[in-house]
């Protein structure tokens, strides 16, 4: 077995094992913390399809994270206040059902990704970074200035939404749900990377002209990747909002987009489990450092700087060597 495969298995098992231990010890706070790491990992796994495989450095993925969050917030808000979302032409009710909320979150963030992607993929490189960042900020300001759903204060949801057969308010059951989704998406992403689509996308990153010469359109490949990537991050946003039972414009903030990239790079760019490792490492650092100092982000910044300058390949790269499966 390759060292990376062993490492991936360990990483994959780390979350349920840690959550199980926390459950036995009765530390519900730790379970919530691990759930948070799993949701961040899911968001970054989504981004990694565009960034790692497609080479598209999107600094605006918080837009999709926030759209997913607000999809949950708006639907649950209308359900808990018993007001219809719309009653002009036909009546549209809110809902507390997680599967419905997820579908809405996935569909709306995919739609936003389609619009943003169609515009920003006309450019490349540094333009692409700036444009995605700017569109992300547009959603942030829109969320602040739109008063119907709390504006700057955000929206609180009193009770976590329902999933058939589960008590979602129980931290362990909610973690299991999130982990199942993360596992499913990781499995799918692993298959996607080896499928013709993933290979073509990866080829377009390495040499777009050659891909075009063999008759594949890099623009279409990238757009599809960007849409799937945005949809996965949107789903993570809906879960994150459900974890906190709160949505606010900070989910749209550019720092959020930056952190997603940080997860990927801390773990290792273009590696399937890179975002998982990075998100776990980040949440762990946050947990360990924030009691030490109010200014713990200084340490995170310094570590990040050192990783970028000296430890290229991230955590997995340093531990498993530089060979990457799909390059």
């Amino acid at each position: 077995m390759r060292r990376e495969t062993i490492l991936n298995t360990l990483l994959y098992l780390a979350m349920p094992v840690a959550a199980g231990l926390a459950f036995v010890m009765g530390e519900t706070f730790l379970i919530t913390l691990i759930t948070r790491a799993a949701i961040f990992a899911l968001a970054a796994v989504g981004l990694n399809l565009a960034l790692g495989l497609g080479g598209l450095v999107s600094l605006g993925h918080a837009a999709f994270f926030g759209i997913g969050g607000y999809a949950m917030g708006i639907l649950a808000h209308h359900a808990q206040t018993y007001t219809p979302i719309m009653d002009t032409w036909f009546v549209l009710e809110g809902t507390k059902s997680m599967p419905v909320i997820w579908l809405v979150a996935i569909a709306s963030s995919a739609l936003a990704a389609l619009a943003i992607g169609a515009l920003s993929l006309r450019t490349s490189g540094v333009y692409f970074i700036m444009i995605t960042l700017a569109f992300g900020q547009m959603f942030y300001y829109f969320a602040i200035s739109w008063p119907a759903y709390g504006g700057e204060d955000g929206l609180s949801i009193y009770v976590r939404n329902d999933f058939p057969g589960l008590n979602t308010l129980d931290p362990m059951q909610f973690f299991a749900l999130v982990f199942a989704i993360l596992s499913g998406v990781l499995w799918w992403m692993g298959r996607l990377a080896r499928a013709p689509f993933g290979l073509a996308l990866s080829a377009a990153r390495q040499n777009a002209e050659r891909v075009e010469t063999v008759g594949l359109g890099p623009f279409r490949l990238r757009l599809v990747a960007f849409v799937i990537s945005g949809a996965v991050t949107g789903l993570a946003g809906a879960l994150f909002a459900d974890l906190n039972r709160f949505v606010s414009p900070t989910m749209f903030s550019w720092q959020m987009s930056g952190e997603f990239i940080v997860f990927i790079v801390l773990g290792g760019v273009g590696r399937l489990f890179g975002p998982v490792a990075g998100a776990m490492l980040f949440v762990l650092l946050e947990h360990l450092l924030s009691p030490v100092s109010d200014f713990w982000l200084i340490y995170v910044g310094t570590i990040l700087l050192l990783v970028v300058l000296f430890a290229r390949g991230g955590l997995i790269g340093s531990l498993a060597g530089r060979e990457v499966a799909h390059d």
């Binding site: 600094l59 970074i129 444009i131 300001y141 829109f142 930056g258 990040l304």
Partner: protein, 305 residues
């Protein structure tokens, strides 16, 4: 809306545009010459504002405060160029984004640690705190007018610097062919440090000038940084002229959109929902402008294809 009010808003738009230009000019120069995307440019803006607020607090002199802002931002720029940025020139954009994102974290938290979380206030000097009467009987705050004048002077100076001086020739040569000018004996790493420090000083000056109108606080730089990115996307990367035109367009669209859109919707809606929809749309107006430019000119108004 009266014409006087409209002219006032146009001047406000010019003022915010010209401060954006100070940010965007540095960013676009740094990108044009070194090919580097610098997210930490907003931190340099913040450093300028904090240096100005601190020095104004000690000495009470606004001129000294502006000098301190220029010096502190240029020094910070020079240091990060020599310690960090220099290692990033031949890296890909992802590494540049991450390293400069890390710098933002370090600078923001460092400033919070030094100055605390509460905003500082930088007062407009007494001589400039009153309004000035413009032709046509328009009263306009003299400090804001000063910002416009300073910004325009710097724009003219920058164009002259790039068109006429030796360093300007080196900058332009560096933009078109890096290896060649190194081969011709220009000390390229010194040139890079100078360009970076120049961009940093402009950002610091912008921070100090705006700091006297708004409050001086941690995180003040990043919203301006993102606006400056919009400016560069509109104007075209590497073009100072594009930065100027883009900055004025963005400043005017943002300011006038905030005033005119609610009025426009007020024509066919009740006032309260007109204000809501108008201001929500106004918050998106510059991004819509950016999207339109992208549709027709993906490389920006003055960008090279």
């Amino acid at each position: 809306m009266t014409p006087i009010l409209l002219i006032e808003q146009v001047l406000n738009g010019l003022q915010s545009g010209i401060t954006l230009f100070l940010m965007a000019a540095g960013l676009t120069l740094i990108f044009g010459v070194m090919g580097l995307i610098n997210l930490a440019h907003g931190s340099l803006y913040m450093i300028g504002a904090f240096a100005a607020a601190a020095v104004a607090g000690w000495t009470g002199s606004f001129v000294l405060a502006l000098g301190a802002a220029l010096a502190a931002a240029a020094a910070a720029g020079m240091i990060i160029e020599m310690v960090v940025i220099r290692r990033l020139y031949d890296r890909d954009h992802l590494d540049q984004v991450l390293a400069t994102f890390a710098l933002i974290l370090i600078f923001s938290e460092g400033t919070r640690w030094l100055f605390g979380s509460f905003p500082l206030y930088l007062d407009v000097p007494a001589a400039l705190s009153g309004p000035v009467t413009l032709p046509g009987g328009i009263l306009y705050p003299s400090y804001r007018l000063l910002i416009i004048v300073i910004g325009l002077l710097i724009a003219v100076g920058l164009f002259q610097l790039i068109a006429r001086t030796r360093i300007g020739i080196q900058i332009r040569a560096g933009e078109s062919d890096r290896e060649m000018i190194a081969a011709l004996g220009v000390d390229i790493s010194r040139l890079y440090t100078i360009v970076f420090a120049l961009g940093a000083a402009l950002a610091g000056l912008a921070g100090a000038l705006v700091g006297a109108i708004q409050s001086v606080q941690v995180g003040m730089g990043e919203p301006v940084l993102i606006l400056a990115f919009v400016v560069i996307v509109i104007g075209g990367i590497g073009s100072i002229k594009g930065a100027l035109v883009g900055a004025l367009l963005v400043g005017l669209t943002d300011t006038l959109g905030g005033v005119l859109l609610p009025l426009l919707f007020g024509l066919f809606m009740d006032p309260s929902s007109a204000t809501t929809i108008g201001s929500a749309l106004a918050s998106m107006s510059i991004y819509i402008l950016m999207a339109l430019v992208l549709l027709f000119r993906p490389t920006g108004l003055y960008g090279r294809a």
